[in-house]
């Protein structure tokens, strides 16, 4: 009989990512309802010392394979190792982060474990002893309630949605032999090119300031960047701005870009095309600045200013600077 709510912890460069604590907390909650333990799989090189941090967020046992073969992340090494330790221990539920690497790994595991998974969930619960998940579909134009079966029942959880709650448990290290060697890696990482800007990715940002067609050109984004700097925000863009070549594709928020859930989303000069709204309407607070009072974005906004963004945005920067100084 399968038992235990497990997660795969995500670390980068020897530090656990925040989303790992979020999914550990979600797992703890379900494990308490089921009266089961929380296990975490932790892979990497020199990562064993991270186990107590997972313990702090409710993990009972940390299954560690510490080996140079796990640096950097590769699908082949990670999926083989996780599948092995999962098969040996037979947890009933397995959560991963719906981060870029979490998506890569979780989907491969669906194949390896021949099971079911709900992707990018915003709610998980136990109904009649089984996992039920709620997740946006059509980029958030609808939500689906998914029942997951198979063994384990899998879900990937959207970053920034599940609160990380401290709840100290043992975080006991259980070492396992992953049985993975460098020869098993068919798709190798030749190079990791780090973004040195130090900006938080849109999918993990707590605040996003986005500019759309109303920015009129790439040269005007400095006012968006200044406001973002003061707020500690990441800059986003609408599809119109990306397709016009004003902003890199990685900045695009929307149905064919990134789907984001920040605490605060500031939309400047964005009318609110349905594909854009789909990508950001799960933001906790939405602010719109647009000179068109009929722009659809105002229907989603908690606060709006109907005015020329070129007047408003610099004033927002000024006021925020005074407040946050």
């Amino acid at each position: 009989m399968s038992k235990g709510v497990w997660i795969v912890a995500e670390q980068r460069d020897g530090a656990l990512r925040k989303v790992s604590f979020e999914i550990a907390s979600a797992a703890r909650k379900l494990a308490d309802e089921l009266g089961e333990e929380v296990g975490a799989v932790l892979l990497g090189s020199g990562v064993e010392g991270l186990a107590p941090e997972l313990g702090k967020y409710g993990v009972d046992k940390v299954y560690v394979a510490d080996d140079a073969v796990f640096e950097p992340y590769t699908t082949d090494a990670y999926a083989t190792a996780v599948a092995k330790v999962v098969k040996e221990n037979d947890p009933s539920i397995l959560f991963l982060a719906a981060s870029v690497l979490g998506r890569d790994l979780s989907t491969r595991l669906v194949g390896k474990l021949a099971t079911g998974m709900a992707t990018d969930c915003v709610e998980v619960k136990i109904v009649d002893g089984h996992l039920e998940a709620k997740r946006p579909m059509y980029a958030g134009k609808t939500f689906g309630e998914i029942s997951v079966s198979g063994s384990p029942q899998m879900a990937s959880l959207r970053p920034n949605v599940f609160p990380a709650v401290e709840n100290a448990k043992a975080g006991e290290v259980v070492k396992f032999d992953a049985g993975v060697s460098a020869d098993d890696i068919k798709a190798r990482v030749l190079e990791v090119q780090k973004d040195t800007s130090g900006k938080v990715d849109l999918t993990e940002a707590e605040i996003i300031v986005s500019g759309g067609r109303g920015m009129k050109g790439p040269e005007n984004y400095n006012i968006i960047e200044e406001l973002a700097d003061v707020l500690g925000a990441t800059v986003g863009a609408s599809r119109a701005a990306v397709d016009a070549g004003w902003r890199p594709q990685s900045d695009q928020v929307g149905q064919t870009g990134k789907i984001v859930s920040p605490n605060l989303y500031v939309a400047c000069g964005i009318s609110g095309a349905i594909q854009h709204l789909a990508g950001m309407s799960s933001s906790k607070f939405i602010v719109a600045v647009n000179k068109d009072p009929d722009a659809p974005i105002f229907a989603k906004a908690d606060y709006g200013i109907v005015d020329d963004l070129f007047k408003v945005v610099p004033e927002l920067t000024k006021a925020a600077k005074q407040l946050l100084a």
């Binding site: 669906v110 079911g116 958030g140 407040l323």
Partner: protein, 256 residues
């Protein structure tokens, strides 16, 4: 090069999605159906590779009769032939079943590289490419924005949070396409004419030897939560409205 491109027909990004009253799915009336945008990048990359290295492109789709339109689009863009997997039993197939169906359908085709979109913009699951790779025992390169194929190897760029990875893989492999990979071509008029005569092979679950056992089921669909009406800060003097907004964000929303 023998290339396979997997495509799915989905509602256009501008489509309003309405949930049926009983929550069993979406209202399909009035929806404009298109090729999943991420699959279009995959088809384009497949065609570019074929043009560079020779070979042919086979398009595979799983979907009802209407998906034939998307197949014709891919054929009009330049693919040589297609496989249309269609079976009412597969209408709400989960990722594992879908990937199993595709794997079975292309089993007989020699294939050097398989393209999928990184996700379909309807169910947003993003699982099929990886599961297909696993079922075929191939390496996967997911969410790729740049691809080079040379000397029997693939080099690809994969953006992750705060970095990008340069990945090298042997062939054959599965690549899932992300926006940025290329600019998909439009079908030309001669292309559209030629597409009508290109072969499309139909397969159903029985022909593929599939047993359907969904392990992830959509029990119910619901509209997104309504947002409470917002507050418009009135006034045309930004030096007044802007500080008022910042004050609200601090004192009312408690968010900055």
């Amino acid at each position: 090069m023998n290339i396979v491109a997997c495509v799915k027909q989905v509602p256009d990004t501008e489509a309003l999605i309405k949930v049926k009253a009983d929550g069993s799915g979406i209202e399909e009336g009035g929806i404009k159906w298109v090729m999943n945008p991420y699959d279009e990048y995959g088809v384009e990359e497949a065609l570019k590779l074929k043009e560079k290295l020779g070979g042919d492109v086979t398009v595979v789709t799983l979907g009802p009769a209407r998906a034939m339109e998307t197949i014709r689009t891919a054929l009009a863009m330049g693919a040589e032939k297609a496989i249309h997997i269609s079976d009412p039993a597969l209408d709400n197939a989960d990722a594992y079943t879908t990937a199993s169906a595709i794997a079975a359908a292309i089993k007989e085709i020699p294939c050097d590289i398989i393209f999928c979109g990184q996700r379909a913009i309807d169910d947003d699951s993003g699982q099929v490419g990886s599961v297909l790779a696993e079922l075929l025992g191939l390496p996967q390169l997911t969410i790729i924005t740049k691809l080079d194929v040379e000397d029997g190897k693939v080099k690809a760029v994969k953006p992750i949070e705060g970095a990008q990875l340069l990945i090298e893989s042997s062939l054959p492999c599965v690549v899932t396409a992300q926006k940025g990979l290329n600019e998909p071509r439009y079908a030309s008029l001669p292309g559209i004419m030629k597409a009508k005569k290109k072969p499309v092979e139909a397969k159903d679950a029985a022909a593929l030897g599939l047993s359907v056992d969904a392990k992830a089921k959509v029990d119910k669909m619901t509209p997104p939560p309504e947002r409470a009406p917002g507050k418009i800060i009135e006034g045309d003097d930004a030096s007044v409205t802007a500080p008022e907004l910042i004050k609200l964000l601090r004192e009312e929303a408690k968010i900055i």
